[in-house]
Amino acid sequence: MNLFREAFAWLFAPEQQVGADAVLVRLGEHLLYTAIAVVISAVIAIPIGYWIGHTGRGKQVAVACSGAARALPSLGLLTILTLLVGVGDAVLAATVVFVVLGVPAVLAGAYAGVESVDPDVVDAARAMGMTEWQILLRVEAPIGLGLLLGGLRSATLQIVATAVLAAYVGLGGLGIYIIRGIAIRAYEQMLGGALVIVVLALVLDGVFALATWLITRARRTPVRPGDLGGPGPAETAAGTAQDQTSRSPAAATEGSS
């Protein structure tokens, strides 16, 4: 408990509120890396996932690639990539690592969402005279939005946790407190940094929970267990909901050791 008190004292100390190393600045960097990676993951994975879901083709390949991507150790990948592109382009290396992490979850959410649409509903839409694009954009995408959000949610949480690694290649972010804390044995600093990451992860999770709740409510679709609490069926490919959400804050500290 003493350590926690010291961590809070460190967090709220005036030195942590100003300058390039202020907590808010680091938080901003962390969020920025996360946001960029999530957006790029979405841009890559949503079209592919929708295509897989709509045509029913390529799912085996996607599952295999996702499995492989998930098996890559982020720290190892980051080290190799940074050496390859040079420290000057570390942002690129880090972004690639985070995107590799995010794509599988978003992909699974996107195709699970489209796949979850009752085939009779798709048939009806086609029989009304909708083109395949209209079916995808006006029927499959909106109905599958809940599952897509689930995929985005786990991608975000994983990336937020792993963005700690940015500090290893000199990019800052909240991971810097942990790395520096280890180096100079400043445990209150390590714990303070870890706490901010945990809170950030919880807040982001809450935002997604709220968004999911809002769309499920607006659509009055029957709420299935898992739809609100977590990513649900999207997770059959992306690991279980508990696994992902409870792992993310832990992974923040994991990455530091």
Binding site: D120, D123, A124, M128
Partner: protein, 275 residues
Amino acid sequence: MIEFDRVAKRFPDGTEAVREITLTVPSRRTTVLVGSSGSGKTTLLRMVNRMVEPSSGQVRIDDEDVATLNPVTLRRRIGYVLQGGGLLPHRRVLDNIVTVLRLNGVRRRSAEERGLELMDTVGLDRALARRYPGQLSGGQQQRVGVARALAVDPNILLMDEPFGAVDPIVRTDLQNELLRLQSTLDKTVLFVTHDIEEAFILGDQVVILKPGGVIAQQGTPAEILADPADDFVATFIGAERGQRALRVEDHNGTQVVVDGRGRPAGVLAEGVPRQ
């Protein structure tokens, strides 16, 4: 006029759903396809809007081979009530009804006005317009399906067991509404049911299908009743059990009509001039 010219459908898994059917569906009349489950009714119906491509043969609408038409434009000008409703669960009732109008580029305001009128036409309370399909009863959903099919004022109306999910009273109600509608709208209706009573009530022409997708008999209800083509038809229309052979019994001066098993079917009206 819709013509089926020696159409057959064999699905990839080898199922012979329809075998060499030739049939003419006259304009501005109601033709009813009737047959037991799996006799190929839905398959035949869906050939008209190219939701099913025949394995062989041709379907023509007013002498135009549908295979040469763009499926999307074709479907947008044919009204189709799907078996089981087929409403879009994420759209409100009114949005469901105006789906095709909107696809055709009609402005939201005028589409919705038309949608509300259609709700009146099919006997749906306008208060239901903002609900989602999941919040309606089975019968109400089927009415939404009918309203949606009528939205673009199509010449051709395909109706696949549109009154399947409702109790007999609502069913009678909906049948009467369809008859009333048809007397003013004059559509070419191709109607599917497995209920022979419904077929006789609604059909100008009735086509009885046998399992395996062959026509057992076609004709007006009276023709079929008067002269069932074979045992299958006789069984199917209930003639065999004597239900269709009515005779008159005198009960204290009232002429009661009874069926073959002696069950009363009604009374003979007196003083009604013969038409």
